[in-house]
Amino acid sequence: MSGVILMRSMLLLAVGESARQNVSIFDPASPQAESIRNLGILVLAITGGIFLVVEGILFYTMFRFRRGAPPGPLVPNPDPKVPPPVTVEPAGTSPEPPQVYGSKPIEIAWTAAPTLVVLILLLVITRTLWEIAPDRPEPHEGDNALFVTVIGRQWWWEYRYDHYNGRPLGFTTANELHIPVGRDGKDYPVYLTLQSADVCHSFWVPRLAGKTDLIPGRTNHMTFHTATAGLYVGQCAEYCGTQHAKMLLRVNAQPSEEFESWLRHEEQPATDVETVREDKHVFLKQSCVNCHLVRGTEKDTPARRREYAPDLTHLMSRKTLASGIIVNDVKTLRDWVRDPQNIKAGCLMPAFGLSDRELDSVVRYLLTLR
């Protein structure tokens, strides 16, 4: 019976708790999410009002007309055509209350009232729908816009950076999306192109925008921008198989200079570090490179740029591994390379049975991919 009101107050309490990742849809960080939040509150208020009125009538009726209630004034007769109370008393039963068969005016009234509410709701929903509709301008210089193609995969995210501020980019990264934040009233819009390489997924970072599905054989779009720097988390919102629960999303919103320097760094091929030449050789000999790409190595050929697995060119610039589920450090990286199935069972990367020496080499090399 608690209902909407109690729910909402509890919700506020929950949001108020601190020091944790905020994924509440009621704490928007973009105009798109805010627009939805405002609509949500309006709809909650309208339905909350209906709830109180109807539930109130229900409880009043239940209480007032329970059998054995003290006889009050007779209920006013809503329809003059209605017959008088039945007076014949069949053996063994109490007299029946007046039988009211219906009333056309009343029926029309309580059809019209909800119709009016529906009309109002339809108008505000329409406004919001068009307010947050994703648009798709052509990239051009000076638009400060970031265009990224997001490809959902079992169970991680591939990000192909297409354009920024009109400039073609053409590098790929994984699992941690970086975006610029607006400043001085200037927006840095983000345009996502959503595709899937296998099954249906859904891109959902609640504080930035509503979710949109990634469906194989189909291209969807999403638009948002934010003025608040920070980390926004979310996760895949369409069931996509075994590790659907571990397909987390991380969006780093950075001030534009910071973002641009990250961009310049990511565009570079992997740096060759003299001290790990031997380790690099070990890495390139393994089957890792059949799926993973490290740009700038001799295995980086057009045929290999099909990417079945996260691009490792700047692996160590990422804070997490395996789609946001573990921190990326020496120990977890080594554990992951040794046997990913221990950490994310069912994921498409098998354990390759590397010897300890090979493992050390591979990890030493990966650690240089900053």
Binding site: L39, G40, V54, F65, P90, S94, Q99, T128, G210, A237
Partner: protein, 556 residues
Amino acid sequence: MAVAEQTTSEPKPDAAAEHGPEPGSLLDWLTTVDHKKLGLLYIFLSLFFLVVGGIEALLMRWQLMWPDYDFVTRDRFNALFTMHGTTMVFFVGMPILIGLGNYFVPLMIGARDMAFPRLNAFGLWATLFGGFLVYFSFATGGAPALGWFAYAPLTEKTFSRGPATDLWALGLIVSGAGTIAGGVNFIATILGMRAPGMTLFKVPFFVWTMLWTSFLILVAIPPLTAGLIMILLDRNLGAHFFDAQNGGSAIMWQHMFWFFGHPEVYILILPVFGMVSEIIPVFSRKVLFGYEFMAAATMGIAFVSLGVWAHHMFTVGMTRTQDLFFVASTLIISIPTGIKFFNWLATMYGGRLRFESPMLFCFGFLSMFLIGGLTGIMLAAAPFTFQLSDTYFVVAHFHWVLIGGTLFGTFAGIYYWYPKMTGRMLDERLAKWQFWLLYIGFMLTFGPMHISGMLGMARRIYTYEADRGWMFWNQLTTVGALIQAPSFAIFIWNVIVSWRKGKPAGDNPWDAWTLEWATASPPPSYNFEEVPVVHSRRPLWDLKHPDDPDWKYEHE
């Protein structure tokens, strides 16, 4: 066995016994074509699967009690929610309503049986064996892990290798055939076998809703069956209907499924509207307010429900115009539903309410279904659903409709009709325990789900991150589920014990007005000694109040 063909008004009570197996024997139950026995079998089948589906739910809830917990993980959890959904929709919800309909539609319209008794038996056994087929998948190394709406291309061989998916699709095809058989049978029975004088607008309201439910069954189940066959073709004969990599369409499955899936929701709720529309008047001692408007609203719901399916698909990237169409149709369907609600309130208003168990559960239905309806209006707001879709808010919403609505209403129906089916009353004290445990446990289970959903918790995740702040709400939910569990045990216990030891009911314990109460409890196999002649919607009222009968006031 020959009872169904009997058309004379001369009863031959022992006809079945002379030619068929001994009444009450196992063979009799297995070969019966009597609508009442089949109705009971449908109900037993549903209660069995209700326990199975309930245990699946409890296992999931225990896993979600703590973040990163390791009780049932990954594919086992994914299989649990797939089987829980499939079980509750196809093997609990539909069979229990079809079962009650089977038992009571012929009785309420003064018929001796359903129109096609053998088809009726086929429907039951197809449903049961369909269920077994789906559950056989456990023996093949794991149940399907697809989600109950099994979005393509997860169902393709590439992503689901084992035979579980095939068994799932086969089972649903088979049980779907049984459901269609039931639908055909109801339509033929209601249109063709009403007692003399009972025009189509004088049928008891439950019968009216069963008619429209059957219409929805005939329209909605075939697209699902077609889709399931396409899945089987894809998987076993190299077709590519849903295989996007070979030119198939993943999104086509979503349209096919939800074209079934949304009318399905109304298949699960319309008969319940019918039951409460029988019970509320009897326990308020008043005639149903605005029968004509209620009847029209039912038709309206049945038709509009065929045009709302894509509100399950607001996040697939439809155009804004398409979004708007489905927003509008979904909002419109709330109007006839609202009409029904107000008419129930008006029926109680000015009445003399008795709160025996059927009415208690009707109160549960009214107070809870309202909330499920209102969260439905929230979800009709497409932009809001861009956030809420596939979260626990949605899970809360449809459980609020299916438990708060369908289940509470069905319990009301069972408490109302059990005396007729068995000749004995269910125990009222146990009923109160069951009701309050369910009522409180239900709210505690699904109330917090609204909040975890709004806090960003996606559904169908076997575990969650500790830093998201969802643990508290999940723990409340799990505790709620643990409170609900004994209420079901009490119910089953009540059904078993009262069968032998319940208070004798007599023909008409609730002093009700429709024809099923005019015969013995339990009714003889031929239902009525004489086919009754009907003048109004409440024949037994007319009988009791000959000086002031209903037909004076009814207009069609």
